[in-house]
Assembly symmetry: C2
Homo-oligomer: 137 residues x 2
DNA sequence: TAAACTCTGCAACCCGGTTGCATCAACTTT
DNA sequence: AAAGTTGATGCAACCGGGTTGCAGAGTTTA
């Protein structure tokens, strides 16, 4: 049993059940964000609802964050350890129009926006669409 | 018959049928972006498919642009007359977490992003979520 | 051990979006 | 004007992601 996985769950106050360990394992192995339907396919036999609720639990506890890249299904990716999902933690996401993968551009923070008067900012979703370095050969 | 409406359609090379005139009329009256289900409700008797295809035609011809604000239904808003929906035409959108309305912040262009090497940019979707000036009383 | 609680799995549902197909309207061609 | 062509419209049905209700399995607590 991977101790690292359990520590991550513990760190976010998530009870480490077998399902959750497996799901976190899969998420850790991903290089790009993964959707619920994609996650389903990673398992031979796993219930959609359980995976759905697992992802929700992970998101509520800020172990992962969700990305709506406009492809029709929300994708999920691991948060960095210190992440609290506040506006200052947010980064840009990149959707490749060729391979359909969505990547966290962790090094690119979401630019600050000067909103009109009396507009309060809570969060920002910024998705850049284009061709990724893998597909631009 | 509103001549203005017909000119707009003509300007974008869209044949001015009765349905299209009506839909454009509704879109023109909106202060915020409108979704397909919302548009359906604006009409007593109108088929979802027709409205759907009308919006698609409008979008293809750059009369309107679509906004995925993460609420589950795509919203649409009029483009400005000279808009060609190129990256430099893009502006920020604002979703109010209280009233659920989505506004075009036409005066706020999407900030330029320096992508990693070999990443090509096509377009950007930037949605700021918060509380709008109407709800912040 | 019994009670309380949480997690899991199945079934069913909701809803936005989309497609196929038949019909209708408008515009061409002869 | 009749026939033919094209595109727009309307209906029905479908698809797929997301979500909820509920019962049963597993875990924790007293």
């Amino acid at each position: 049993m991977n101790e690292q996985i359990n520590n991550q769950l513990k760190h976010r106050n998530i009870k480490p059940t077998a399902m959750r360990q497996l799901v976190l394992q899969v998420l850790t192995e991903q290089k790009s964000a993964i959707s619920l339907p994609e996650l389903e396919n990673k398992f031979e036999k796993a219930d959609k609802t359980t995976l759905y609720r697992t992802l929700k639990t992970f998101e509520e506890n800020k172990l992962i964050h969700s990305i709506d890249d406009g492809t029709g299904s929300v994708k999920y990716a691991l948060c960095r350890e210190a992440c609290e999902c506040h506006p200052e933690d947010l980064h840009v996401h990149f959707l490749c129009a060729v391979c359909g993968q969505t990547y966290c551009l962790n090094d690119i923070p979401v630019p600050t926006i000067n909103l009109p008067a009396k507009f309060q900012l809570e969060s920002v979703n910024m998705v850049v669409k284009g061709v990724c370095s893998n597909c631009d050969k």
